[in-house]
């Protein structure tokens, strides 16, 4: 079982308190009606499926209930960082990871 740091509670807690919520930094378009079918398809379905560091969302569902963002290495299953929703996407170099 993983240990996950909730950036709102500022505590490292067991995975059982959290729920995965898909890839992070996919912003819902302000006016979807202006998107082409292809653009809308990409927004809906196309994901990076990264091998290695992956930006993703988690929810502290059995805690503060907040959604937050994380960088997790999908190979080692290690969390490199968690941060609050709305904060800027950190670049990998700042995490000591080669892009």
């Amino acid at each position: 079982m993983l240990l996950i740091h909730c950036p709102y509670c500022d505590e490292t807690l067991p995975e059982a308190e959290f729920a995965y919520a898909g890839e992070a930094h996919i912003i819902r378009p302000a006016d979807p009606s202006t998107l082409t079918d292809e653009e809308w398809r990409d927004f809906l379905f196309i994901r990076s499926n990264a091998r290695g560091p992956h930006y993703e969302r988690w929810r502290h569902v059995h805690g503060c209930a907040r959604f937050f963002n994380a960088v997790r290495d999908t190979v080692s299953d290690r969390f490199l960082l968690t941060y609050k929703a709305g904060e800027k996407r950190p670049d990998l170099a700042s995490l000591g990871v080669a892009e």
Binding site: M1, L2, L3, A19, A21, I27, R28, D31, P32, S33, L35, D37, W40, R41, L44, R57, R59, V61, A65, R66, F67, S76, D77, A85, G86
Partner: protein, 997 residues
């Protein structure tokens, strides 16, 4: 006294006899015995039959790696366990055990015919043999394979035992209480760390228990052990015996399975049989030691052939000589000590066969001094003896040439092919292994967790090295925990260090097709099978494993995987590290389902949610059905009614008079705040701006992909307050989705979301007499049709309780839903029942609710929709706020596939014969005469017998269904094709006149 037991020797209690039975025959052992040691004390080696060839087998080990001596144990109903290793099961008074995998008796097994026919069962024979004819599969092959498959017999009764679960946090977890583990725990505990030390054996000490002649720090090893355990206890170290570390998971979480009652004569009241520990350790020291390798030669599997280290353990731990005449065959120094110790205990050591040409001079000298013949540079080419080894054939090997055979008579053959570091747990962490060419074995490589490996686990041999390395690991762990620590250097006398060499098969002069040299004893895999697999094209070690089943038995290849690799690598013509090891996976040793399940069984398997009115339903004979985690009243049978009759009565009573229904499970979410209406506009398809407070509306929620996710009636209680209802199963999902959008897409909206599902009890009152029942109980609201039309909501008091009163209908009748604080739910229900008595009020359950809604064509999300149904498909196009600029899923409604022709649409189906009820899920075709496979154009989603209409009704999703009104479609069923006409889904009162009361 049993003939092979040495008086006063070993760590067993010679003063306490323990009675047990094996295959129905009574035996006596001593307290502290395992089943294996007790039977060996009686001279019994034959304990089981092998899986495939039914060859007679005896124990090869004295520990949990045992592949052969598998037994069934029992202690009364429900407490039978198959595949228990006789080498691990401790004796208890009255223990009943039986051998496995035999047809007939253990000594005369009819299944042994397989052994004579062994050329018919090569590696991969399953794949080659049962291919054709196809028709033989169901009737012949599968039943035979099923009967032959599996080890032991499965218990058939419910397990009455309790299994416990615990969490544990510790600074340092040390796995394995041999010399390295003991030292690691001692040094770290002295430095001040909180330490937990676990060992799978009943007693701590590891190899020390089998080597009492060694001296540590000026004391005999066993005295040092006792003193060390005492000091560990006084330092507060948690000492856990009979506790196996079964898996090593992320971030130093280790699963431990602790056996608590299996060794006890009687089970204390309420005691759990096993306890699963989930340990989070800041640091871990793995000190699991090494596993001895068998040598691979013809006939290496007969009872009486065992690992030399095992024989040494039986001698010192249990005071049992494994035979009168021993031959030792070894490629490692360690087996010499077994030979010397056995000779001292009175066993005649016929000879030591060393595969090496030049064993160390010190060992040669000691063998000479003891008068033991040493045959260096020799090989073993065969053994004889039907149920027990009786002789062994040995040959000199000179420059690769096999010399003349010589037969040695013996009753036990003790082998050692060297030692393999036990790296199972280490490998669970996805750490890498590094091939060590000098010792020709895998050692720990790159680590992924905060752990240390000490002692034989990383290839060190001998007590001085193991103790010193353990001390270093303990000190390193303590320093990593921020403590100051020094690693002391222990003094060791009579150390038993040593080296050896590694082999594939031993050289032989036999025709290769006639060699039966076993690698995986439990799965009956021979060296020949591995070579055959490589010849037949298996190159990856993973393929070789699956083709031959090498290492796939319950011992998970503890003895076989390294020998299998050596031979596969030789056959492929690559170095072993290029061929690689197969993956080790948890659990380390077989673990009961009970230990994993813990408390999650029976009534505590899962939460059962019950409404505040559940008690009334139970008292009134409700039959229940599970709906998500809720248990809901399904129907209320009266006077021996079956479900059909009860439902027909409940339906009629509701349509003709008044019915009452517990709708408390409906999901409820309060959406409040200045931006509540904007939030609702963005979430739901419907327009909300113009919905006046005091009114309600049926809302549809889509996913961003345009498919229906949920629905429910939503009341507006004020300008900034909505009472949202969701489906029973969808409540948590909908709240999660709302929170997601609110927190991450629209954090600017000033809205609060609160789950109120369990705060409100909800009672639905439906039927032409509903208002008559209700009006006398309502205060603070005008109940007239004018003041409270269909789809309105009022805050008032009902039966004296604060209430949110909705006028809505899921039945097509005049309907009300009364929400009161949950604690008043039952009182409200009883007040309504009383007020309804003069009107013939009838309680109904979920089945009647389903029938009544289906008669009206109201859909159930997840039954009539399946995650690929858009609003237009379900006939809900009217619920789309087309003028709204955006809402969740709006853009997708214009996706090419959602506007395409021929989408499946929800329609009604009426069978030609109204007595025939379609099966929900049944597939639909347009042309029943087309060739198979037919083109399926949809399926039945809901189907009931309607008492109101006196016939069956159904709903279905059918391609282009709404353009096929009046057409006949066909539903092929096993007993014939059912014809049905496509209709509207509104079967009853299509104009809604009955709501206008």
């Amino acid at each position: 006294m049993s003939r092979f037991r040495l008086p006063g020797k070993g760590r067993v209690n010679h003063a306490e006899t323990v009675r047990f039975s094996f295959d129905g025959k009574a035996y006596e052992g001593l307290r502290g015995d395992t089943v294996a040691s007790a039977l060996l004390a009686h001279g019994i080696h034959l304990m089981g039959r092998s899986f495939k060839y039914h060859r007679p087998r005896g124990p090869v080990t004295a520990d949990s790696a045992e592949p052969n001596a598998l037994i069934g144990t029992s202690r009364g109903p429900g407490r039978f366990e198959p595949n228990t290793r006789a080498t691990v099961q401790e004796l208890r008074q009255g223990l009943e055990c039986e051998s496995q995998n035999r047809l007939g008796s253990l000594a005369f097994d009819l299944g042994a015919v397989n052994d004579a026919l062994h050329p018919l069962f090569p590696a991969g024979f399953y794949y080659k043999t049962f291919m054709w004819p196809r028709s033989f599969w169901d009737r012949l092959y599968e039943p035979i394979i099923r009967r032959a498959a599996g080890l032991g017999r499965a218990p058939s009764e419910v397990d009455p035992d309790i299994y416990a679960s615990r969490y544990l946090h510790t600074d340092l977890l040390v796995v394995g209480a041999g010399p390295s583990g003991l030292m690691a725990a001692l040094v770290a505990a002295r430095a001040g760390a909180r330490v937990t030390l676990v060992d799978e054996n009943p007693e701590m000490g590891g190899a020390i228990l089998s080597d009492p002649g060694v001296g540590i720090d000026g004391q005999p090893a066993w005295d040092w052990l006792a003193q060390t355990l005492e000091e560990l206890a006084s330092l507060g170290v948690r000492l856990m015996t009979r506790t196996t570390a079964i898996g090593y998971y992320h971030q130093n979480m280790i699963g431990l399975c602790e056996k608590i009652t299996d060794h006890l004569d009687t089970i204390p009241d309420g005691a759990p049989r096993e306890r699963m520990w989930r340990v989070r350790a800041t640091r871990v020291v793995l000190a699991q030691g090494a596993l001895e390798k068998p040598l691979v030669f013809h006939g290496n599997d007969r009872p009486g052939v065992m690992l030399a280290g095992a024989a040494q353990s039986y001698l010192h731990r249990w005071g049992v000589r494994v035979g009168d005449r021993a031959v030792i065959v070894t490629s490692h120094d360690s087996a010499y000590f077994t030979a010397f110790d056995l000779a001292e205990a009175g066993t005649k050591v016929v000879a030591i066969i060393d595969t090496r040409e030049a064993p160390p001079e010190a060992l040669r000298a000691e063998a000479r001094a003891r008068g033991i013949e040493l045959l260096a540079g020799h090989t073993v080419t065969g053994t004889k003896g039907r149920l027990r080894v009786a002789s062994v054939t040995v040959n000199p090997v000179e420059a690769g040439r096999i010399g003349d055979p010589r037969m040695l008579h013996c009753d036990c053959l003790l082998m050692s092919g060297g030692w393999t570091p036990s790296l199972h747990l280490f490998s669970h962490t996805k750490a890498s292994l590094a091939w060590d060419e000098q010792s020709r074995t895998f050692l720990p490589g790159r680590m992924t967790e905060e752990c240390h490996i000490a002692g034989a686990g990383r290839g060190l041999w001998g007590y001085l090295d193991a103790l010193s390395d353990g001390a270093e690991a303990g000190a390193a762990a303590a320093r990593a925990l921020g403590q100051e620590a020094e690693a002391p250097t222990p003094a060791v006398a009579h150390d038993r260090a040593g080296t050896g060499e590694s082999h594939k098969e031993l050289p032989t002069d036999r025709t290769s097709s006639r060699v039966r040299a076993f690698i995986d004893f439990q799965n009956d895999v021979t060296a020949k099978d591995i070579r055959l697999a490589v010849r037949e094209g298996m190159r990856s070690i993973e393929h070789v494993k699956r083709y031959t089943t090498n290492g796939m038995a319950t011992d998970q290849g503890k003895m076989s995987s390294i020998n299998g690799l050596m031979i596969a690598a030789d056959a492929v013509g690559k170095a072993p590290p290029e061929v690689g090891l197969t993956t080790f996976r948890p659990p380390y040793t077989p673990t009961t389902f009970g230990a994993f399940a813990g408390y999650h069984k029976g009534a505590t398997f899962e939460v059962t949610r019950a409404t505040p009115i559940d008690g009334w339903a139970e008292e009134n004979g409700a039959v229940y059905e599970p709906v998500s985690l809720w248990r809901r009243a399904w129907y209320f049978p009266q006077g021996g009614e079956d479900m059909d009759r009860a439902v027909a009565r409940e339906c009629r009573a509701t349509r003709e008079g008044v019915g009452i229904f517990d709708a408390s499970t409906l999901g409820k979410i309060e959406v409040a705040g200045p931006d509540a209406v904007e939030f609702m506009n963005r979430m739901y398809t419907n327009p909300w701006t113009k919905l006046a407070p005091g009114r309600c509306r049926y809302g549809v929620l889509l996913g961003e992909d345009g498919y229906i996710r949920d629905d429910g009636v939503i009341g507006r209680l004020g300008p900034d307050l909505f009472h949202v209802t969701t489906t029973t199963g969808g409540a948590a999902r909908v709240l999660n989705m709302m929170e997601d959008y609110l927190q991450t897409e629209w954090p600017d909206l000033d809205v609060w979301l609160t789950s109120t599902t369990e705060q409100w009890a909800t009672v639905a009152l439906n039927g032409p007499k509903a208002r008559k029942v209700l009006e006398g109980l309502v205060e603070g609201a005008d109940m007239s049709a004018e003041a409270m039309p269909h789809m309105s909501v009022a805050e008032c008091r009902v039966a004296g309780f604060k209430a949110r009163l909705f006028r809505l209908s899921f039945t097509g009748e005049l309907g009300f839903e009364i929400n009161v604080p949950a604690r008043h739910g039952r009182a409200l229900w009883e007040a309504l029942m009383q007020a309804g008595q003069p009107h013939g009020i009838c309680a109904y359950g979920t089945e009647t609710m389903h029938v009544l809604r289906a008669e009206k064509g109201f859909i159930i999300i997840g039954q009539d929709t399946d995650g690929t149904v858009a609003p237009e498909d379900a006939g809900l196009g009217w619920a789309i706020g087309k003028k709204k600029p955006d809402f969740v899923g709006k853009r997708s409604l214009a996706r090419p596939d959602l506007v395409a022709e021929g989408r499946k649409q929800l329609v009604g189906l009426l069978t030609e014969d109204g007595h025939v009820k379609l099966e929900e899920g049944a597939q639909i075709v347009f042309d029943p005469d087309q060739p198979k496979p037919m083109k399926m154009v949809g399926h039945v989603t809901s189907s009931y017998h309607s008492a109101t209409l006196g016939r069956s009704i159904a709903m279905a999703l059918i391609e282009g269904g709404r353009d096929r009104m009046g057409e006949t479609v066909h539903v092929p069923m096993p007993d014939g094709v059912v014809r049905a006409k496509v209709t509207s889904t509104a079967f009853y009162d299509p104009d809604g006149d009955r709501l206008k009361l």
